[in-house]
């Protein structure tokens, strides 16, 4: 089998997206846009108490309302479906779609109403009376880890979901026992300088602009369930729905139509989805539920919420000799599909881009009375890189070194790849110093420093920040998620008229798969992009799949497509060879023709070969008619893109307001299929990272456990005026792990931007004795620091 990896006519071009005409005209089709005949609507009664025991529920007033078809309490629903699944190897408490007995976070569903109209359903949910005996709300994770002020799940002593998970030097990777402390102790004893800091990567709300939604239609006649869902991964959703409903996978079809962003928050199958499916099966009618934004704040997974105690040992020349991170992850009230696995990724990032001989991460995961956390854009990598890159800047300032130099002396060198970190991660490729130099040059680093100093001399509060990230992309292999598998599936069918229908299990929700995948296939098959349609997001049409998350679609999904395309081409060569009376091995594809390599135009038209394959007279020996092939592909390891972000900020002395004045970035995601789409991914990623640094923080009230930031008024996602123009560039270091040499770019911006901005703010306030500031950098906090107080 052959695969074409060389850039062709379309790969690498700024091709406009094919999905856009329908979307800019308002002709997209999102879940909430659909109506089915006979459809009923769901609304959930939710807990307004953070922690408590349900004493009684009175649904009679709701049931009496005209148009209300059914009201189910959590206990009643629990008779139809079991607790929800998790996909991590850690022990998890029972988590019901609708809670039957206790409430453990504000917004947790207690009962569900089924009515003829959405607003009526909401009215009915309002009149359900619930009597809850309140328990103390467990909000502070460090107190929670001592069982204070209460225990949330009886089986989990001291609220410890994962009591102690160490990784790195001296830890046996099989048993997860710490066997040898000597290297770690020696590194810190012999260090010329040690930097220690408690840092916090705060809780965030993903806030895809489209809230979650589901329509479930069970057809009693043939026992088939179809679910339209705002999911990032319809095949995983199908598997989990089938398992919980006790149905076969062949009886469940999940369709993700146009999906309005996800950022990890739409990986999960949620309680509302299971409830909708179970209720539709129960009553034999289609049901719909659409989340409103307040619900999205309270009950769609949150991200981050990891405290890191960081210790870094180094020589007087700035060479890092050891890093230790003690991590406390506040995972909220339950474990969802990937909840417990996400903080383990923080530990994987401990070495960053540096050749560090000794590393140790020690992770504890704690239950609190908050919405569960799970994968949010970057998922573990932003926390890890933030902790490390803050510490690198603290080291630079401790030693009076330029932040660029302290990074430079520690880089893993190009000839060290594939590089295995002290924590056991294998990096595929990297050329860090070249990229750093590019970033410094593009930024005009020396001039920036001179300008900053001049501004300071005028009394302005200006700071420069730098970060250098790497991250884990292209998830698999399967060993990284043994409960689900991390391959991707693709199919390529050449129809008898020479047009191509290709499918991918990677389901787009804004990433532009319909475009990039078609670009790639057009080059590979030597036909116009318009002759190719890309099908995704429907388990009824796409036989298998894993989904879109962890910057994996191009790496894993793209490669699977190339594999399937390669198989189809091999078969087309057999038909073409018979038509041309030559050998299949000599034939190539170019410009709609199949012919001898280099002289394809003397061969036979692609469409003619396709036609012959379906009416093959005579059929070539040992060959089946038709042209339809599929492939599964799983990478042997992760890909590791990298980049450097340089920022300049100025803080208003009187108001504490921070202005992001410059953002200079150089990214390396390997080869690029579509630069327009890659730029968009970087911009969007940066925006979310800037949001974490400057404007976003989910806050629960310590006493009541209420979510204080439950609307866009109290939780600000960045607006257009929060950004300068991004000054971006890239280098290209292909990955050796896939034929296209791609690495993934969906999360990079989020990971690199946050530490760069906090580093810039700390630099700005260094004259005020500030060594570290926890995010978010709200004006009030900065103002207090300027006044000489504590943040």
């Amino acid at each position: 089998m052959t695969m074409q990896a060389t850039p062709g006519q379309l790969v690498g071009q700024r091709v406009r997206r094919r999905e856009d005409p329908r979307l800019v005209k308002g002709r997209g089709s999102y879940v909430d846009d659909m109506k089915l005949p006979g459809m009923l609507h769901l609304a959930f009664k939710r807990s307004d108490v953070a922690h408590g025991i349900i004493r009684s529920i009175d649904t009679s007033a709701a049931e009496a309302m005209p148009g209300v078809e059914l009201v189910l309490t959590g206990a009643q629903l629990a008779e139809i479906i079991p607790p929800m699944p998790v996909a991590t190897p850690f022990p998890a408490p029972d988590h019901h779609a609708v809670t039957p007995d206790r409430v453990r976070y504000v917004g947790e569903p207690i009962a569900v109403v089924v009515a003829t109209d959405r607003f009526l359903a909401a009215d009915a949910a309002d009149v359900i009376e619930v009597d809850i005996e309140e328990l103390p709300a467990v909000i502070d994770p460090e107190r929670a880890a001592n069982g204070d002020p209460a225990v949330i799940h009886e089986a989990f002593e001291n609220n410890l979901a994962v009591p102690f998970a160490p990784a790195g030097t001296g830890v046996n990777p099989e048993t997860l026992e710490v066997e040898d402390e000597s290297a770690l102790n020696e590194a810190f004893e012999n260090a010329d300088v040690v930097v220690s800091q408690r840092m916090f990567s705060q809780r965030l709300v993903p806030n895809a602009m489209e809230p979650r939604g589901v329509i479930a239609r069970f057809e009693p006649g043939n026992d088939e369930l179809t679910v339209w869902s705002t999911t990032q991964n319809p095949h995983i959703a199908r598997t989990l729905l089938a398992a919980i409903l006790g149905m076969g996978q062949h009886q469940v079809r999940v369709i993700a139509p146009d999906v309005g962003g996800g950022f990890g928050s739409k990986i999960n199958v949620y309680g509302e989805d299971f409830a909708a499916a179970a209720i539709s099966r129960d009553i034999g009618r289609p049901v719909k539920w659409i989340e409103d934004r307040s619900e999205a704040f309270m009950t769609t997974i949150h991200g981050r919420d990891v405290i890191g105690y960081i210790d870094l040992a180094a020589t007087g020349e700035g060479k890092v000799t050891a890093v230790k991170m003690r991590l406390i992850a506040d995972i909220g009230a339950y474990e969802m599909v990937l909840t417990a696995a996400i903080p383990t990724l923080v530990a994987f990032m401990i070495s960053g881009v540096y050749d560090i001989p000794v590393v140790r991460a020690e992770l504890t995961e704690v239950f609190t009375n908050k919405m569960p956390t799970d994968a949010y854009r970057g998922a573990g990598r932003p926390e890890g890189i933030y902790f490390l890159e803050r510490a690198m800047d603290m080291l630079a300032s401790e030693l009076g070194m330029d932040p660029a130099d302290v990074r430079r002396v520690n880089f893993i060198q190009p000839d060290q790849f594939p590089y295995t970190t002290a924590g056991g991660m294998v990096y595929d490729s990297g050329e860090y110093e070249r990229l750093l130099d590019q970033a410094l040059e593009n930024a005009g680093w020396e001039q920036m420093k001179a300008d900053r100093d001049a501004a300071r001399a005028e009394g302005r509060i200006v700071g420069l920040g730098m970060s250098f990230y790497t991250e884990i992309c292209g998830f698999g292999p399967s060993a990284a998620m043994p409960t689900v598998g991390l391959w991707e599936h693709a199919s390529v069918s050449v129809e008898r008229d020479g047009k191509v229908r290709a499918s991918s299990g990677a389901s787009s929700h804004g990433q532009g798969h319909e475009t990039t995948f078609a670009q790639m296939l057009a080059d590979d098959l030597g036909i116009p992009m318009d002759d190719i349609s890309i099908i995704h997001g429907d388990t009824g049409q796409v036989r298998e799949g894993t989904g879109t998350f962890g910057s994996r679609s191009q790496v894993v999904g793209g490669t699977a497509l190339l594999m399937a395309s390669g198989k189809v081409k091999d078969k087309m060569r057999v038909f073409a060879a018979q038509m041309l009376e030559t050998q299949p091995g000599d034939l190539s594809f170019s410009d709609g023709m199949i012919g001898p390599t280099g002289q394809e135009d003397t061969g036979v038209a692609f469409a003619e070969v396709a036609g012959f394959a379906y009416i093959p007279i005579p059929l070539p020996p040992d060959t089946e008619p038709g042209l339809s092939e599929e492939a599964f592909w799983e990478p042997e390891g992760f890909t590791w893109p990298f980049g450097c972000y340089i920022t300049q900020v100025e803080i208003d002395r009187d108001t504490g307001e921070l202005e992001l004045q410059r953002f200079v970035g150089v990214d390396d995601c390997g080869n690029v299929i579509n630069p327009l789409i890659v730029a968009g991914q970087i911009h969007g990623g940066i925006a979310q990272g800037v949001g974490q640094a400057l404007t976003e923080e989910a806050v629960y009230d310590e006493g009541s456990g209420q979510l204080l930031t439950a609307s866009f008024m109290d939780y600000q996602i960045p607006r257009a005026r929060d950004f300068p123009r991004f000054e971006l560039d890239h280098t290209v270091t292909p990955s050796p792990l896939n034929p296209m040499g791609v690495k993934g770019i969906g999360e990079a911006g989020t990971i690199g931007s946050t530490p760069s901005i906090v580093n810039a703010a700390v630099d700005a306030l260094s004259g005020h004795g500030v060594e570290h500031i926890d995010m978010m950098l709200r004006p009030e906090k900065l103002w207090r620091l300027i006044q000489g107080g504590d943040a």
């Binding site: 089709s29 806030n207 730029a679 968009g680």
Partner: protein, 155 residues
């Protein structure tokens, strides 16, 4: 209880009976099946529901359907004739001004209004002009490029 209203939407006159509490956005989406106008929040912050009411942009989640009685409304579906694109729709496509597309109809409707008021906007005019519209995907830069290029194209 319902209230009779008459509205013109995308040039078509409608006589309707609506609940007094019905929002304009729900009238458009649920009654008229114009689902290009989206709902992104419940506190009037996101702008996904932006339409043009009597010549200027409005968040259709902040307007009651009964308040629109006698009014003329343009939604994203009415911005261009079938098979064509408004210059701003075209510019969003050309400049990759969208990813998931959920904020896009509202963003475009606000952009149309912005260009009426500032035919040749600076970056800053656009950033301020789109202050009422949230996008979680794009980081806004390509949206700004799109509005700029549509302005250039209109010159």
């Amino acid at each position: 209880m319902t209230v009779p209203i008459s509205v013109t939407v995308n040039g078509r006159a409608h006589e309707l009976e609506v609940e007094p509490r019905m929002l304009l956005v729900h009238l458009l989406r649920e009654e008229l099946n114009l689902t290009g106008t989206h709902v992104g929040c419940d506190t009037s912050q996101c702008g996904a529901c932006t339409v043009i009411v009597d010549g200027s942009s409005a968040k259709s989640c902040t307007v009651l359907a009964v308040q629109a009685d006698g009014g003329s409304i343009t939604t994203i579906e009415g911005l261009s004739a079938e098979g064509e694109m408004h210059p701003l729709q075209q510019a969003f496509w050309d400049e990759h001004g969208l990813q998931c597309g959920y904020c896009t109809p509202g963003m475009i409707m606000s952009g149309v209004d912005l260009l009426e008021r500032h035919p040749d906007p600076s970056d800053d005019d656009i950033r301020r002009g789109l202050d009422g519209n949230l996008c979680r995907c794009t980081g806004y830069e390509h949206i700004i490029n799109a509005v700029k290029s549509a302005a250039g194209g209109a010159e």
